[in-house]
Structures are given as structure tokens and as C-alpha cells.
């Protein structure tokens, strides 16, 4: 699966049950951003199968969106739901830390 260049919703099989709303901010299709998306999908499929929704925002296409979520670092993953809002920066290659960031660590165990 590849990230799309524009803001796009990637819907999973059970959209109504999407308790997890995640937004990934990228800037163009750099290797790092592509990697981040792949890592995110893998983690979600493993731990949140069927209950998540990923939104990819490419700031090169819609730079005005950077202000709302206070984006500085790229890539940044924002956990919009469930609250509280969490920000995870980096290419998500360190799965352990991603799980900590998403408060998924206890669930995973």
C-alpha cells in the first residue's frame, strides 16, 4: 500500500466502528514518508484491525493544514481519537515506541 499524494481517507472494512482516528502528516513522497505510512499500516493491522481510520495529509498539497495540528516535524502521526490527542514523530520504525505513543502497549500484551 502506498500513500496517496493528496489528503485522503483510507477506509478499513468497518468504518462505523472506527474508534481510532489517526492522521499522518507527510510532505511529498519522500522515502521517509513512504516508510512511515507502511509502518503505520503494519502496526494498525496488527493491533487495531478493523477499528481504525488513517488520514494522510500531504502538507505540500495543503500547507494550511499544518497550523491546526501544530505540525513541525515530518512525518508526524496524530492520534485524534480516542482522546487525548497524541503526537508521534518520526518514521514510526521503532514499533515499541509507536505502541507506547498510541497507548497500545498494554493492549498488545
Amino acid at each position: 500500500m502506498k500513500p496517496k499524494p493528496t489528503a485522503k481517507r483510507v477506509k478499513r472494512a468497518h468504518p462505523p466502528k472506527a474508534a481510532w482516528n489517526l492522521r499522518l502528516y507527510v510532505a511529498g513522497q519522500t522515502p521517509r514518508c513512504v516508510r512511515a505510512f507502511a509502518n503505520l499500516k503494519r502496526i494498525c493491522d496488527t493491533h487495531l484491525a478493523g477499528t481504525y481510520r488513517i488520514e494522510v495529509v500531504d502538507l505540500l498539497q495543503s500547507p494550511q493544514l499544518s497550523r491546526g495540528d501544530q505540525i513541525v516535524a515530518i512525518p508526524t502521526l496524530v492520534r485524534r481519537l480516542p482522546p487525548p490527542v497524541k503526537r508521534i514523530i518520526g518514521d514510526l520504525s521503532n514499533s515499541e515506541r509507536v505502541l507506547v505513543g498510541l497507548d497500545l502497549r498494554s493492549d498488545a500484551l
Partner: protein
């Protein structure tokens, strides 16, 4: 042609600057900040970095039609808008007109989890978008160093900052980057490594419990700049820097005269009064009438329709006006007409430098023809004599460059040498009037004399200085018989002299009458003698007449006798 070409290209090659619009800052940088390059503003907390950056943008937007982007890393937009409203900056209005864009970048470290490689492209995108959306020419980043605190990986931040400054240069925006001072370095995280073109240091020092803000150009690559520390103020009108470096002894000298307000004093000053644009010092001990002289001068100037600015460091404006009314000087109408403006403050309220900046700004605003400082000696409360002298020298330069007449009063403490004004400023002054107490015979009187007055034939006489409800008058002191007397002693002496003169007059009268009598007697005697003489003459004549008649008679008798004797002859 060739020479012209090379001149043109040289001009293009030299650093181009853009004016900040901040009072004085453009003068100490000789034209402003390097165009299209970032400038670092550093200093300790609370020294005014944010305000400087904000004023740079606001002035750019309002005065030079250069929109600006303010990226705040420490405050929210609302906080910032509120904070600078006190300086008269209406950020909302500027934002509505697309002249300014404030973006707050607030990162909470506790919310952030680092999970691999990243860069700060998001910041670049935000900034780039903001710059493009309003066509910004100016950018302020305040304080970008907080990124070091919010992001866990300092190495990445460092590399990205380097890229950011390169990117800013490419964009051709003129940027101000602020940074807090660190231990032993200009900024905590060594921002000066990246921003190497122009570095402005702000400082906020407390000496004798009085804080003074100072600014210094630490570095300005490719340009001349003032190297001195210059004081600055932050107040309702924003920043004002006092450009000490721009002053020199090259002002013109007017030959125009201004009246002192006292005709006799004008007469003492070469007949016409002070020179316009000269500095006048009135020194004297307490209660000798220094403020009254200053008030008279102000009244005369206002009377001629000239603006006056009165800095009072001891009394409030109403108090000065009330006191001057007691000697017949009413300044209230001039205040009402806007010709006279008072500014009262305690010298201890702020540092010397701040006072100077404040005075400078007020003079700039009001553009007076005459300035009164009453009294300058009070500044010794906030600075040593040397500092006060340096400050006054600069003040004199400021007013002289504007051809404004400056009058300073100076309080001499009792027991101190009168001819050594307390703050040692007499050598800076063009005209020096000394008001002193003349104490004799159980009373105190005021004497005034001109100690010096450059460029005019001034009187060397001591005059008695009389304050009445009709104002100031100067009276000749009694200088006869080897002493100088004033006040009632003078009056006494004068009465004495009048009495003596009267007595002498009376003696003459008496002598005259006596002589008249004598003359009458003598004349009577002369008449009697003349009568006697006449009588004598008449007697003699009678005698002579009688004798000749007798002679004739006897001759006739003899002839008759002879005729008788002829018978026998």
C-alpha cells in the same frame, strides 16, 4: 563610462539594507538590517527581544509596505496580541489587512513520542505557506531555540536550523531570529553559529536599583556599525534607541539672540540676551531664584510664540505654575495654547540613559525652541558626576543640533565652591549665570552676575536680584566707598548718603544766606562811604570856589588902592 559601471556594480555588491523603522536603531546600524538575511537578536529574559522583533514587523507593515510573518514559539497568538497592544500595535487589524500574520508554534514535549527519523519540514511548510499567503518580506522567529527543548533530538534540530536559515536566505526575506543569552555564549544553543551576518545584543542592567536597557550591535558583517552600547526605552510608542554614535561637534552657531525675559539681564548679556541654540546654566544655592529665572525665560519665549519644553525634576507642573504666579508670571495660558509643555519626573524613576532617551524622544515629538531642565543636579541621585556630565554633554549635543536653546539650573550646596557647579558641567555651557546669596547685616539678599557668556561682551557687574509680584528686576548694588551692599543695607546706605547730601545742601543754603546778609551790610557800608566821599568832594569844591572869589576880590581891592596912591606918583 567604465568608471560608472564599476561604481554601479560596486554599489550592487555592497550590502543592501532595509530600514527597521525603529527610532534610532537604523542610525546605529547605518541604515537598517541586512536585506534578505537573518539577524540574530539576543539577550537575557525580559530585555525586549520579542518586542523588537514585533516592532520590526509592524513598522515594516505600516511604514514600508512590507508584510511580515511572526512565528511565535513561546506565546500564543492571543497572548502576543494582548501583550503588544500596550505598545499601540493593533495586530488584529494588521492581520485583517493581510499585512501581518502571526503563527504560534506550540509543541508540548509530553505529547510527543519520537519513533524514528524525522525532519522539520512541517515548520518549513508552515513558514513557507505563511510567507507566500501575504507576500511577506519580513519574518520574525521568536524564540526558535525552544525547539531544542520541545524536540528530543538536538542533532536533528541543529541540522534543520542550519537548513532553515539557508532557506530563509533563499527566500530573500529579512528575518529577525531571537535567542536567549546563554552562559558564556550569546545564545543558549549557539544560534550565532547559523546566523552570522548581523547580531544585535540587548541588555537590561540594574545599577543602584535602577534598570537601564541597552542595545549594542555585536556584529554586522559587511557593514560599518556603531559599536557603542546605546540606551533604549520601551514605552507606549514602542522602541526608542538613542543613537549616541550619530552625534558630533558639527552643529552650526546662530547669531540670533533670545531674550532672557529680564531687560536688565539682557543688557548685561551684551544688550540682547542669550544666543539662540546656546546652553545656559543658572547655578546657585537653594532659594536664590533659579526657577524664577527659568520661568521668566520661558514666559518670554512663549510670548514670542516659541514652543518650550520644561523638564522639572523637583516640582509638579501645577506647583511650578502656582509658585511662578506669585512673582507675576502666569504660564497657564501658554500651556493651554500648546506652546508650553511640562514634564515632571523624579530622576530616581529611571536610569540616566533612560532619562536621556526619554528627553530626546519628547524633544523630537514636541520640537521646542527652548528646553529647560530644572534642576540638572538632581541627576546625581542616579549617577556619578562623570555619568551625569556625559549625559548632559549628549543632551547638549542633541539640542544644539536642533538649534534649541537649553537652560539648565544647578543647585549648589551651601558651603561648596560656587564657581564649581556640582556636576562639573560648567565647561559644557555657553552662558553661566550665578545667583548667590549676599548675607550682611542680618539679612539675605540675592545677587546675580554673569560668570561667563561665550561670544558676547557681557557685564562684569554684580546686580541685586529682586523678586517682586511684578517679576524679576535687577538693581544696581551699592558699590561706593569700597564695599558692595545690597538689600536694606544698600537702602540704608543710600538713605545715609541722601541725608548727608541734604545736610550739605542745607549748609550751603545757610552759608548763602549769611553771605547775603554780609553783602547787604557791606553794601550799606559802601553806600555810606560813598556818601562821605561825596561830601568831602563837595566841601573841597566849596573851599576852592571860595578861595578864588576871595582872590578876585582882593585883587580888585588892591587895584582900587593903587589908583588912590597914584596922586603923589
Amino acid at each position: 563610462m567604465r568608471a560608472e559601471d564599476s561604481k554601479d556594480s560596486l554599489k550592487q555588491r555592497t550590502l543592501q539594507k532595509i530600514p527597521t523603522g525603529i527610532k534610532g536603531l537604523d542610525e546605529i546600524t547605518y541604515g537598517g538590517l541586512p536585506k534578505g538575511r537573518p539577524t540574530l537578536v539576543c539577550g537575557p529574559a525580559g530585555c525586549g527581544k520579542t518586542l523588537l522583533a514585533m516592532e520590526f514587523l509592524v513598522r515594516g507593515a505600516t511604514q514600508f509596505d512590507e508584510p511580515g510573518v511572526f512565528m511565535a514559539f513561546e506565546e500564543t497568538r492571543e497572548e502576543l496580541t494582548k501583550n503588544v497592544a500596550s505598545l499601540g500595535f493593533d495586530l488584529r487589524n494588521l492581520e485583517a489587512h493581510k499585512k501581518l500574520l502571526v503563527d504560534d508554534v506550540l509543541i508540548d514535549r509530553s505529547e510527543i513520542e519520537e519513533t524514528g527519523e524525522y525532519n522539520l519540514e512541517g515548520l518549513f511548510v508552515r513558514l513557507g505557506h505563511a510567507v507566500e499567503s501575504i507576500g511577506a518580506k519580513r519574518v520574525a522567529l521568536d524564540t526558535i531555540e525552544t525547539l531544542f527543548a520541545s524536540l528530543p533530538n538536538a542533532g536533528i534540530v541543529r541540522a534543520e536550523l542550519r537548513r532553515l536559515f539557508r532557506w530563509l536566505k533563499q527566500k530573500g526575506v529579512t528575518a529577525i531570529v531571537t535567542g536567549e543569552r546563554g552562559d558564556g555564549s550569546l545564545t543558549r544553543h549557539g544560534l550565532e553559529e547559523y546566523v552570522a551576518d548581523c547580531v544585535i545584543g540587548l541588555d537590561h542592567r540594574v545599577i543602584n536599583q535602577i534598570a537601564t536597557r541597552r542595545v549594542r550591535i555585536l556584529k554586522y558583517r559587511g557593514s560599518l556599525h556603531g559599536t557603542n552600547e546605546c540606551p533604549f526605552l520601551i514605552d507606549m510608542q514602542g522602541f526608542s534607541v538613542l543613537p549616541i554614535t550619530s552625534m558630533g561637534l558639527d552643529y552650526g552657531a546662530s547669531t540670533e539672540r533670545v531674550s532672557s525675559g529680564v531687560p536688565r539681564l539682557d543688557a548685561m548679556l551684551g544688550g540682547e540676551g542669550y544666543y539662540r541654540g546656546s546652553s545656559v546654566l543658572i547655578s546657585g544655592s537653594a532659594g536664590t531664584g533659579k526657577t524664577s529665572l527659568a520661568g521668566t525665560f520661558v514666559q518670554a519665549a512663549c510670548h514670542h510664540g516659541e514652543r518650550c519644553l520644561y523638564f522639572a525634576f523637583e516640582e509638579s507642573p501645577p506647583q511650578i505654575m502656582r509658585n511662578l504666579r506669585s512673582i507675576g508670571i502666569d504660564l497657564a495660558p501658554f500651556v493651554k495654547k500648546g506652546l508650553l509643555r511640562f514634564h515632571s519626573s523624579r530622576p530616581s524613576g529611571q536610569g540616566l540613559e533612560s532619562h536621556l532617551v526619554d528627553i530626546h524622544r519628547r524633544i523630537d515629538e514636541f520640537n521646542p525652541r527652548a528646553v529647560v531642565m530644572d534642576p540638572v543636579t538632581n541627576f546625581t541621585a542616579v549617577g556619578g558626576p562623570d555619568e551625569v556630565k556625559a549625559m548632559l554633554a549628549r543632551l547638549i549635543d542633541i539640542v544644539k543640533a536642533r538649534q534649541t536653546t537649553l537652560m539648565c539650573t544647578s543647585l549648589t550646596n551651601a558651603g561648596e565652591a560656587e564657581q564649581q557647579s556640582e556636576v562639573g558641567i560648567s565647561s559644557l555651557m555657553d552662558t553661566w549665570l550665578l545667583v548667590r546669596n549676599l548675607e550682611a547685616g542680618g539679612e539675605r539678599n540675592r545677587g546675580l552676575y554673569v560668570l561667563k557668556s561665550r561670544g558676547m561682551a557681557h557685564s562684569n557687574q554684580v546686580r541685586e536680584f529682586v523678586l517682586s509680584n511684578r517679576g524679576i528686576d535687577l538693581v544696581d548694588v551699592y558699590t561706593g566707598a569700597g564695599t558692595v551692599l545690597a538689600g536694606s543695607a544698600r537702602a540704608n546706605q543710600e538713605a545715609l548718603e541722601r541725608a548727608e547730601a541734604l545736610a550739605a545742601q542745607q549748609a550751603i543754603e545757610a552759608k548763602k544766606r549769611e553771605f547775603e546778609r554780609e553783602r547787604a551790610v557791606l553794601q550799606a557800608e559802601i553806600a555810606a562811604l560813598q556818601v562821605k566821599l561825596k561830601t568831602g568832594e563837595e566841601d573841597l569844591k566849596r573851599l576852592i570856589g571860595g578861595a578864588s572869589a576871595q582872590a578876585r576880590t582882593s585883587a580888585r581891592d588892591q587895584a582900587a588902592m593903587s589908583r588912590m596912591r597914584m596922586a603923589d606918583g
